[in-house]
Symmetry: C2
Subunit: 194 residues, 2 copies
């Protein structure tokens, strides 16, 4: 049994694609866990690992957690690990409008989406964490309804559509895809080797 | 090539036992790296992982680091992650004397040595961290010259001698042995699977 430690339904759906069919998955809601942990790490990997360890120790289950965000070069990496907490209480539409305003007049719109995916087994005291990245740039306007978060202003390298317009295709190239496919390829090997 | 990110010669020798013969190992001294990182994590795993990531990013090499310490139940886990930094500038002899004094009159002398071993590959952005523990108790006096740190006041379960008296035998049962044998068994599998 594996705990997927996210309350974000979109992330949950994206992550479930990687879980081997024969592995039962439970969520925080399934277990009635509503404690939260402060995401005070300095990196995506730190935050993802803190979350995995925290919820694994609470549940006594091997646990998967992630942390992800948008890193914009011209804003010195902002919003980065603060992507979800940027202007708390506002919608992603408002956050995206503000990012577009912050980038007005900037020629360098390079950015990347980063996802850190962590697995922690509290019995084995084993942590595995990997990072996946997709390079791209920030569009001039909000485009598309697919995905969530900052997807409608992120255009991956080699495309002209935003993640918000790309639909299913996003799931074969995204930062989350890269992180979780790497994580599960390692977990499969470790678990097979037992 | 693998970087062993410790300046402690005793730890270095203990860790080198686990490295596959065909893997070239370099040290911080070999690379002329003398930067230090603040060990401000809240757990052994956090500190070991911070160190591995820090030195891997500095050196661009897959890097191994550890953090370890003595956890004493009657002292609420003290010295724990502060084991090396307890009374800075004093010898381990003085630190051990102080621990013995702190435990005077306590009937519960249960303790454990904990070691977290971390591997970080900066190219793959892959972190693996495991923890090894050995249960035991704190002796009534300092005994033996083998090993280092708090070894002369730690008696592992099933023994009457301290780690400081046990000699070579320590290396087949210690917290560091458990952590690093687990870490390398995983790394071997992951690397073989490539």
């Amino acid at each position: 049994m594996l705990l997927l430690a996210t309350k974000n339904k979109h992330k949950m759906e994206e992550i479930k694609r990687f879980v081997p069919k024969d592995l039962k998955v439970v969520t925080l809601d399934d277990l009635g866990i509503d404690q939260e942990i402060e995401e005070n790490g300095e990196t995506f990997m730190e935050n993802a690992s803190k979350k995995a360890v925290f919820y694994a120790n609470l549940s006594s289950l091997p646990t998967i957690a992630d942390d992800s965000g948008l890193v914009i070069d011209a804003l010195n990496g902002f919003p980065g690990i603060r992507s979800a907490r940027f202007m708390p209480g506002t919608s992603y539409n408002e956050k995206m409008q503000m990012i577009l305003r912050m980038l007005e007049g900037k020629t360098n719109r390079n950015a990347r989406f980063v996802c850190a995916a962590s697995y922690y087994d509290p019995k084995e005291k084993l942590l595995v964490c990997v990072e996946g990245t997709v390079e791209g740039h920030i569009s001039k306007e909000i485009r598309g309804n697919f995905g969530f978060g900052y997807d409608p202003i992120f255009v991956p390298v080699g495309f002209s559509k935003t993640f918000g317009e790309l639909g299913e295709e996003k799931h074969t190239m995204s930062h989350r895809y890269k992180a979780f496919s790497k994580l599960f390829s390692i977990l499969n090997v470790i678990i097979l080797a037992k």
